[in-house]
Symmetry: C2
Subunit: 364 residues, 2 copies
């Protein structure tokens, strides 16, 4: 099948670009002795998780237990669930899944630790545990160096849990190298104090899992980090380019759309809106635009309805006509993929493969 034969809207992945992205990240990790544990939230496709393992990853990351189940069913056997698992329904499922794969969880509260311990010890299984520390993003995680130790000591004392180390997410890192250097120094200070405090308490920190998209090729400059969890790098997107973490020709995924209306002057409408792309905003520059049109970067996708993408063509010399097709790089590829049941892998004009987004909609 040819790309020109695909009905729209359709998500298409340039396989050459994607394979290049996988190789580049695996090489970086090998060079710096970092374990690579890609976050599969970006694609939610077991076949791509396996490709990541084949290209050098030592395991995968997921956010949800139901995603973990899909990946384990597909043969993945070393997973980090980078999300606090809370509540008896979930801890029971976690304890059962731990019979089928090596599982690590991250958490930041005694409540979460005790809940998981109760379930795994009852089931006779064990999970590795990372204590999440907040390095300034302010989402999850315990701050300073004494709280993590207290929580780690609790974890060490509980059955069915195996304290492994620390996890953090430097998601507040900006675009400017100077700003990143300052923030990195702060994070390194906290990491140093943590490791020192743990050493003094006689509790070894085997694993420090870190990294984020903007800081992804600087992970080797964080003290003690020996594992990274990049997600977006497999496809990249307009936001990754916007924060200078990738170039446009490293964007592997685009949304193929059709122009369905040009009747309103100065505008063109394509057959993809928020239910095709998501409403996620552009995180760089002036924040404007809901995607980049490869055929016409000067045009602005200024607004989404649910099924309409509104292109302002006033600043463009291009003429738009009903029926023509365009390729759009989405702002945030993880959210876009999450709206679709399948993705097409293409090489040139040839559709080489169709993947089912098997872990899509696995919200629990």
């Amino acid at each position: 099948m040819l790309v020109s034969e695909l009905d729209t809207p359709a998500l298409i992945v340039d396989l050459d670009v994607m394979e290049g992205n996988l190789t580049q990240m695996a090489d970086y990790c090998r060079r710096h002795n970092l374990r690579l544990r890609p976050h599969t939230k970006t694609h939610k496709i077991p076949e791509l998780a396996r490709k990541q393992i084949e290209s050098g990853a030592s395991g995968i990351t997921v956010a949800k237990l139901t995603e973990a189940a899909v990946m384990i069913d597909a043969g993945l056997d070393d997973l980090l669930i980078a999300y606090p698992i809370v509540g008896p329904a979930k801890t029971a499922r976690l304890a059962r899944l731990a019979e089928r794969a090596k599982l690590t969880v991250s958490l930041d509260s005694e409540e979460a630790a005790r809940g998981i311990s109760a379930a795994t010890s009852e089931r006779g299984t064990t999970v590795d545990v990372l204590v999440e520390i907040d390095v300034g993003f302010g989402r999850c995680g315990v701050a300073n160096e004494t709280e993590p130790l207290k929580l780690a000591q609790t974890i060490s004392s509980l059955p069915g849990l195996n304290f492994q180390g620390l996890m953090f997410f430097p998601g507040h890192f900006g675009v400017e190298p100077e700003e990143r250097a300052v923030l990195r120094a702060q994070v390194n200070g906290l990491l140093d104090r943590c490791v020192e405090t743990f050493a003094r308490a006689g509790l070894p920190v085997a694993l420090v899992s870190g990294g984020s998209t903007p800081s992804r090729y600087e992970s080797d400059q964080f003290h003690g980090v020996n594992e990274v969890r990049p997600g977006t790098y497999i496809f990249n997107d307009r936001n990754t380019v916007g924060v200078s973490a990738a170039s446009l020709n490293e964007c592997a995924l685009s949304v193929l759309v059709t122009v369905v209306s040009t009747s309103v002057s100065g505008h063109a409408v394509v057959d993809g809106g928020s239910k095709t792309f998501s409403s996620d905003r552009y995180q760089a520059e002036d924040g404007r635009g809901f995607g980049l049109i490869k055929e016409d970067p000067a045009a602005e996708i200024e607004r989404f309805s649910e099924e309409h993408g509104h292109i302002n063509v006033a600043r463009s010399d291009r003429r738009y006509s009903v029926g023509e097709r365009l390729n759009v790089i989405p702002n945030h590829v993880c959210s876009t993929v999450n709206l679709h049941d399948e993705i097409y892998g293409v090489r040139g004009e040839q559709v080489e493969t169709v993947w089912r987004v098997a872990a899509r909609g696995k919200v629990r």
Copy 2:
């Protein structure tokens, strides 16, 4: 099963509230002699489409052909596809579906009309056609009174098409009654001129399909409108309340979430983010907040990560604790439902039914 036994995040619909919403809209339409053709994009569930028919709707509206196919498979037999159907793959499918149900399509270009005509006439089927006019929203639709006539005359001359009338969407109507009255007068002027122009040309306008959420109980004040296509009214949401089109106790759907972290001071994190709610913004007041927490309306959901909802609890007296559950009314319920595979219908504490969101992900 009890609501307290549902794992989170979960979409739950208060059946009493939903049934009240259906009755209220059906009564309004009966009182004003308006045909009710609800837009099923809000729920994408055939069982709910049937409930709408049973409560007085004369047909349904969908946005996509693949949604239409799901609804037709479930026995719905009178559908408006309120979207320009463009391209040979789609027109061929449309022509086939027209063998199984009475179909109406809306369009705003000769290209779309000719494409559909070629497919339906080849297949020996016919579809009714509405010409979409732009009444100021600037999305799709031809403006003024002469363009619609020209397009309608083309449609009338083509085989496999049956010109039925006009469609419009007053989506730019604001919250203030005075502003709405001014805009309504403008729309009515255009509608009057259209009907007059069509009458002079000897082309009867059998159907005028109009309405939007903010203007939904004013549809009887639009000249000549004899059909409305409300969608959100079945559930309502924070935006519907924000534009004064519903009250909070008419919101039938909420997202049940669990607090998973309180470790960052002044904040609480719940297990639903943009992949559970969508990133759709609040369209009223200051635009802040990504949903309304029923248990604590003073708290602000200030940010979503993909799987984290970040609640700022600084302005709230409530204490949040890991493991407790909250009910959140989403900003935009259509986008929220579109992210989920099933919805729970509850009465009081009892889970009465589970619906599969069968037309979710039907993007083509």
